[in-house]
């Protein structure tokens, strides 16, 4: 088509130029349909299961947690009572940064953005009465993943669950924490080693547990384009694979334990292309570059639905509508698990009302709209298949660039990825300010409004004090000798290069605190120093 007929060029954030009309010729020119394949079969473009939502719709897993374990358990019960099928646990910042609730740096932050956890006692209380076979639990914990995963396993074991059969997920993706989100503790290389320890431990003792959920999500939230989000995510996942392979583990014994977490905001079709392309590329990388034999190792399992960067503070009710579209895009993209940002989440911990509305959004989509009737309903569209092909080539080229520059671990250590995404965050902000990137309520259809009153989650300073008192009670009844021995064993394992997970399990069973475990590891492994770039 001539330029005159095409009109003004339209380019997606990822750099793909979009035609006004797609035809079979576009599909052929972009690589054809040979790589589409069938759902549930390599290379999984159309989804990782043959019947997808016809057999089992996505798991609903709203991110939740605040205050003490007891308060969080109440919210869990509320969500499960309203039909939620999984849990996605939010921890407070001291816990996420490996600090106890009475640490001076924790002052004012205990229980604020998530549940406070100091010891196994808190984890026991949070999940009391919840059937861990029925409700799968995802732990959003990264820097302090080691003690928290150990506490979760210890709690499950005490309640009689067999680790060999226990399901669940930990986020535990430390490399992305250095790019966005920021709950790092140790330097980059030792952090990678600890992730390796958890993967190795799970491969050997908890093979159904997913020890890592690789997050493109937070990299996108920090400014990356959708294509970069996928490329950085895949590069990080490869870094974990490479690290664990160096330990001599068989790839198929652990690769299937990796799952993914991606962002959904932005252009609908661009996200669909990103997911279909990413799924295919991951399958190809695993089979062709890593020699995977088990199809499970090649399948990109994922959680999607969140996209805080797409929500606005202005006209907060608009976020309810955005959330519904995000849910639709996630389902069209073939996600296994969905979590939506609640409409008040730009301000506060979601109220019960807002969290329930997110849940109802997913339930309406699942039960009223026919969305689950057939697998990959967009498959075969000339537009979708062409953009999937072009997006795959784009992501592959970005991955190649990263490799040529020395790999993701080096790029993160030197702060290069951070600088790149923050440069883009600024460019995006400028495009919004200039009205080039439309945001309803922000740069168009603006209302002169009083700031709308959103119901704020109450934070009570005394809840921090209550948590500290609880911690003191647990400390007072610990067996000091057993605890010291366990922490010394942990120190020895860390210093000697052994897998620290068994020693961490023993330590938390002796009621070592998050701060005890992370303190010992910091002594041995050091503390991260951020390369400050903007």
């Amino acid at each position: 088509m001539s330029t005159a007929k095409r009109g003004v060029p339209l380019v997606w954030e990822s750099g793909l130029e979009i035609e006004p009309v797609y035809t079979p010729e576009h599909v052929a020119a972009s690589g054809g349909l040979d790589a589409v394949g069938a759902p549930g079969e390599f290379p999984f473009t159309r989804g990782i299961h043959p019947l997808m939502y016809r057999r089992r719709p996505w798991t609903m897993r709203q991110y939740s947690g605040f205050g003490t374990a007891a308060e969080t358990r109440e919210r869990f019960a509320y969500l499960i009572g309203h039909g939620q099928t999984g849990l996605n646990v939010a921890f407070d910042l001291p816990t996420q940064c490996g600090l106890d609730s009475d640490d001076p740096l924790a002052d004012g932050e205990v229980g604020r953005v998530g549940m406070a956890v100091d010891t196994l006692a808190d984890v026991e209380e949070a999940f009391e009465g919840i059937d861990l076979n029925e409700i799968s639990v995802s732990l959003t914990i990264n820097g302090a993943a080691l003690p928290i995963m150990a506490m979760y396993f210890a709690m499950a074991r005490k309640r009689g669950y067999d680790l060999a059969r226990l399901r669940g997920t930990a986020q535990n993706d430390i490399l992305k924490e250095f790019i966005g989100r920021g709950t790092w503790i140790y330097p980059v290389e030792p952090s990678l080693r600890l992730v390796g320890d958890t993967i190795e431990f799970c491969a050997r003792h908890a093979p159904r547990y997913s020890p890592v959920s690789v997050c493109g999500y937070h990299i996108r939230e920090s400014g990356a384009t959708p294509a970069q989000e996928m490329a950085y995510g895949l590069a990080i996942a490869r870094a974990y694979l490479d690290h664990v392979l160096e330990r001599g583990l068989d790839l198929d014994a652990f690769a299937g334990g990796l799952s993914f977490n991606f962002d959904i905001h932005g252009n609908l079709w661009e996200q669909v292309a990103k997911f279909r392309a990413g799924r295919r590329l991951w399958a190809r990388i695993l089979r062709e570059e890593y020699g995977a034999r088990d199809p499970r190792s090649m399948q990109m399992r994922m959680i999607a639905g969140g996209g805080g960067g797409g929500l606005t503070v202005q006209q907060p009710e608009n976020n309810i509508v955005r959330g519904a579209y995000f849910a639709l895009v996630s389902a069209l993209s073939g996600t296994q698990t969905m979590a939506l940002c609640s409409f008040d989440e730009a301000y506060t911990i979601p109220s019960e009302h807002a969290a329930r509305l997110s849940l109802r959004t997913m339930q309406i989509l699942m039960h009223e709209t026919g969305l689950c009737d057939t697998v990959d309903p967009l498959g075969g569209s000339w537009f979708v298949e062409t953009t999937t092909n072009v997006m795959e080539a784009k992501i592959a080229a970005l991955l190649e660039d990263l490799r040529a520059q020395g790999g993701i671990v080096r790029a993160v250590s030197e702060g290069r990825v951070q600088a790149e995404v923050s440069r883009q965050a600024y460019a995006r902000e400028r495009r919004i300010a200039a009205g080039e990137l439309k945001k309803v309520g922000v740069n168009c259809f603006v209302e002169q409004e009083e700031e709308r009153a959103v119901e704020l989650h109450p934070y009570r300073e005394e809840q921090g004090r209550r948590q500290v008192e609880r911690l003191e009670r647990v400390r007072a009844r610990r067996d000091g000798a057993a605890l010291r021995a366990a922490l010394e064993a942990l120190r020895a394992a860390a210093a000697g290069g052994a897998n620290v997970m068994p020693a961490a399990l023993d330590a938390v069973e002796a009621y070592a605190t998050v701060g005890d475990v992370c303190g010992v590891l910091k002594d041995v492994l050091g503390t991260y120093r951020e390369p400050v770039r903007f």
Binding site: L93, P94, G108, G223, V313, S422, Y426, V442, F534
Partner: protein, 131 residues
């Protein structure tokens, strides 16, 4: 012509959300100011020291964790101790309307909640420092 305005942008507490802080740093630089950014997880004491040692006229804190009241309370004390009580002090992030009066009472000169236009920040600083 006066020397460029010097600004310290800081992330107090444990909050790891630094996209906004970095975007503001760039906007201030583009507006001709000199910007020092602390990075994450700074204590109020280290921020007050940095403000003094860097010789800045403006201090900007970015807080999205909800811990702005305790963090600003401690920052006010540390600024007084380090002799920085007369700095132009701004705060950005997730700051509910109901908390803004309390922040002003601590000595915060302006609050730029999430969603504020970048120009509002640069213009406020310029107007106040060059006044």
């Amino acid at each position: 012509m006066r020397a460029p305005i010097r600004v310290l942008i800081a992330k107090p507490g444990l909050d790891g959300h630094d996209v906004g802080a970095k975007v503001v740093c760039r906007a201030l630089m583009e507006a001709g100011m000199e910007v020092v950014y602390t990075g994450l997880r700074q204590s109020p004491a280290s921020i007050a020291r940095a403000a003094r040692d860097e010789g800045v006229e403006v201090l900007g804190l970015s807080i999205l964790s909800g811990a702005h009241l305790p963090l600003c309370r401690r920052t006010a004390e540390e600024l007084a101790r380090a002799g920085g009580a007369d700095l132009l002090w701004i705060v950005g992030g997730v700051i509910p309307p109901g908390d803004r009066e309390a922040l002003r009472a601590l000595g915060v000169d302006a609050i730029f909640p999430t969603g504020s236009p970048l120009e509002a920040i640069t213009e406020f600083i310029r107007a106040r420092v060059e006044a």
